[in-house]
């Protein structure tokens, strides 16, 4: 007889917006590995990562699936299991990109992000690792070349160091242009100091709800995050200290989001920390940052308790023109929904938005805020799975495998819980979205521990009640990726806004193409773009249900 808890955690029945299936590339099912099934060490629980972008420049979104390793491989000094680029054909099908796009190497790959580091018109790729992070340059849509050790220069010239040879345990990362100098900068989130030879392991007395479990992060040493400034030649300089990007106490960093939370025209950084306060880094506009998480009400839960921050989603749910933040947390905690308040701060409003209760028995990871059903209201997905296989034991009030959730937004700023994947539960981790099949709605990809990667095809209705517009910005004075640009779509009385970014919050990178659901509008009156350069550009008479490419005006 199934336990009561199992019954509580299986997906809800009924029609689902998404149709889930195992991700296939060519003839092979795509899987990732992150340690053993027993999960004896904390290194084995984060799962792999995902990055979405059009790497081969064919107009279709591609997908990088990042792979981990095993403790045995690490002890044998073998490299990480190979990560792969899967080329999308625009229908939702993928093929392995082949040897030209080789991503092998590394020690234990975690997450990544895409950005045109050398501003040559193609997306490059940065990968985070337990071990040395890695940078790959895109060779004109034909393949990757790893340049972590040195960026190639002209004939006869020596390569210059990338400046990214950090060997901490990095989890999430994001490209941005914090100083608006048109060069991509990079923020790298770090977790903790983990040395396999000295770390506490199985049987070292770590318990959870009376069960022996792997140790950490409590009792381990958190590691500071890093901010890199792009030098304009594809290399980076670590400016963490000079930019004041160094809190009094490091956190166990897992997730990252870039946003202009105070609408002052520069990009701020929000970092979710496991079991330590989350950080909101306010860009001071002079190349430095100030940590204001507590001051703005996004560091703790409403009780003043630091939570186990994992993934982050960002979007303007309440339509006030300011971004709201959603953070996934541990089982027994509520996921946090920090809604922008009348001042510069936020209020934690998960319960009032009907997001709190449904999260308590789950452990959330990847998450996203977007209008998935195209009704003009922002929706939310959360993918879940516990860190302890012993969560299936009696009395834990949770389980190891869990249902992923889809919350459909309503016009009052609340959400209604539904199922993301009615046919399957799993131990989910990183997740991201993109319109892989080119049908005008956002599909999802989810990493699952010890199981195939899940692909969720969005089956949103496309009719007069469900419109959308996608916007691809091309910076000219600004960096070509236009990260940090803010787009506002005006349709009748309503305004929809979104910000260009390269991160999906937890160990995943998203495309810089914005996708905005409009609902039952008859036309788009105008699209306003505030570029990172500060320029405001307005485009009138925009067609519905189209991808709009907007180049930055230079005059």
């Amino acid at each position: 007889m199934p336990s009561l808890l199992f019954l509580l955690l299986v997906p809800l029945s009924g029609d689902s917006l998404f149709s889930g299936r195992d991700l296939v590339a060519g003839d092979s099912v795509v899987t990732t590995t992150c340690g053993s099934e027993a999960k004896d060490y904390i290194l084995e629980v984060n799962g792999g990562g995902l990055v979405v972008e059009d790497f081969n420049l064919d107009g279709h979104l591609d997908l990088v699936v990042l792979n981990g390793s095993t403790i045995e491989r690490v002890r044998a000094e073998e490299p990480a299991l190979p990560s792969r680029l899967l080329l999308g054909d625009g229908t939702g099908d993928f093929i392995d990109a082949g040897a030209a796009w080789d991503l092998s190497g590394g020690v234990w790959t975690m997450g990544g992000s895409a950005g045109d580091v050398d501003a040559d018109g193609d997306p490059d790729l940065f990968l985070t690792e337990w071990g040395k992070n890695r940078l790959f340059l895109n060779e004109g849509g034909l393949g990757f070349v790893e340049v972590t050790e040195g960026l190639p220069q002209g004939e006869g010239e020596s390569p210059i160091p990338s400046g990214l040879r950090s060997s901490r345990w990095s989890t999430s990362c994001a490209f941005l242009d914090y100083d608006n100098d048109s060069n991509l900068d990079l923020v790298v989130v770090n977790y903790l100091a983990f040395h396999l030879d000295s770390v506490a392991g199985p049987g070292d007395g770590c318990t959870w709800k009376g069960h022996d479990v792997m140790c950490g992060p409590e009792g381990m040493v958190p590691v500071h995050d890093q901010l890199y400034r792009g030098n304009g030649d594809g290399s980076f300089s670590d400016v963490s200290l000079a930019a004041g990007f160094r809190p009094d106490e490091a956190g166990f960093g897992l997730g990252v989001m870039t946003l202009d939370y105070d609408l002052d025209g520069d990009t701020d950084i929000y970092i979710s920390n496991d079991s330590t306060p989350n950080h909101l880094w306010e860009n001071q506009g002079d190349g430095t940052f100030k940590e204001v998480g507590l001051r703005r009400g996004v560091s703790h839960d409403a009780n003043g308790k630091e939570q186990a921050g994992m993934g982050i989603a960002c979007g303007d749910v309440n339509g006030d023109g300011r971004e709201d933040l959603f953070v996934t947390n541990f089982s027994g905690e509520r996921n946090a929904f920090y809604r922008s308040s009348r001042g510069k701060g936020f209020r934690e409003r998960a319960d009032a938005s009907r997001l709190g209760g449904p999260s308590i028995q789950r452990l959330g990871w990847g998450t996203g805020l977007a209008d998935y059903d195209l009704d003009g209201e922002i929706d939310l997905f959360v993918v879940n799975g516990h860190v302890y296989p012993k969560a299936d034991r009696a009395g834990t009030d949770t389980s190891y495998a869990q249902a992923d959730q889809l919350f459909l937004g309503d016009s009052a700023g609340g959400f209604i819980e539904g199922s993301l994947d009615p046919t399957s539960i799993g131990v989910s981790r990183a997740a991201t979205h993109g319109d892989f099949d080119g049908d005008g709605d956002l599909d999802l990809v989810v990493i699952r521990m010890g199981a195939p990667v899940r692909y969720h095809e969005n089956r949103a209705v496309h009719d007069a009640e469900h419109h959308w517009v996608a916007v691809q910005l091309v910076g000219k004075t600004s960096h070509p990726d236009a990260i940090g640009a803010r787009v506002t779509v005006v349709a009748g009385e309503r305004e929809y806004s979104a910000e260009v970014r390269s991160t999906s919050g937890y160990q995943a990178g998203c495309s810089t193409r914005l996708h905005i659901g409009l609902g039952a509008v008859e036309r788009v009156d105008e699209v306003r773009v505030r570029w990172p350069s500060g320029k405001l550009q307005i485009i009138k008479d925009v067609p519905l249900d189209r991808v709009l490419t907007i180049e930055e005006e230079t005059e």
Partner: protein, 382 residues
Amino acid sequence: MRLYFPLPWLFVSLLLSSPGLSQESDVTRILDRRPTDWKLASPGAWSSWNVDQEPAEELRPFLARAVNAYMVGDLPASLTALFELLDEAPGFPSAMHQSGVIYFRLRRYGDAIVAFERYLETAPHRVEDTRALGHCYYTLGDYEKARDHYELVLELTPDSVEALRGYALTWMRLGDADRALKELRRLLELDGGHANAATWVAQILYDEEQVDEALEAALTARDLDPYEPRAWFLLSQIYFELERDEEAESANRRFRFLSQISQEIRAAEARLLYDPRQPAVYSRLIDLNRQAGNLMAVGLWLNRWMQVDPGRIGLHMAQLDLALEMGDGATAERLAENLRLKAGDDLAAWERLSQYYAKQRDRIRQSEAEAEAARLRARPPR
């Protein structure tokens, strides 16, 4: 420790004085079991049961073990006895209820729900015993069920402060701030010193962006319980919003200090849930509460420690010192007498008593204590 057992109180008192505390419980075994394992009672088996009815003779040894283990904080041992009892007498309502209480204290809310719901199936007229069922639904995020259950409890016990608190908070979680405030204010009329309710009033006002009113409410909450970190946290948030940075930083420092201690206390308490025989954990809890300045809690943990280790003379001395520190002369006198009776050959105890009686100007007892101390000092070292 509060004990509510749906049994005649006189009977429970007899159980408490009876021997029968089990040895080290088989913690792992009992924690792997669940109330869904309980055998079902035959239909109508307990239809005539009521709370004033004495249990059958053959059930009493199990109940004695369960009650005694519970009183010393050995929750797994108590649960073991209750499972054995329920094997013997499937559906025995008191045992199901007490199992629910233990699961609740072990933070196994799903199991507590099963236990309480089974209890209510057997004794539907005893809703007032199941306030904790509302807490369980609430803790697991099922706010509609929690609200509905609290309503049932409050129909029967309208002045139950804890049920009212839970009821108010479910309204808050369901997004009805006005109703939550109304219920919290009703609670504060019943118990004006309820710091937690006062903090929630402040929190709701803050969430609703009524910042000036929230400040006033938060200051009230802080004054009601200055050791509770939440009020300080809320104050720091409010002051930051009002751009009163110095006060915000000061409140935040106090919050961080209390919060760190509070987290350590919670972690230590959690360790005791599964094994109450850990002197080092009690010692740490006493130390932490002393750091926070919460002498009431120091006394509580000294009592809890003594329940599992009644022969430790040092605890009696610590209790005496605490009573004196709190200026409670009557309790100190009672504790000194208790220490005198238990001191035996403990030199430190007699020395401490000598000091105490000297301060009380009780020359006779002082001389007696000094004589005992001298006798023990004169003994050849072992």
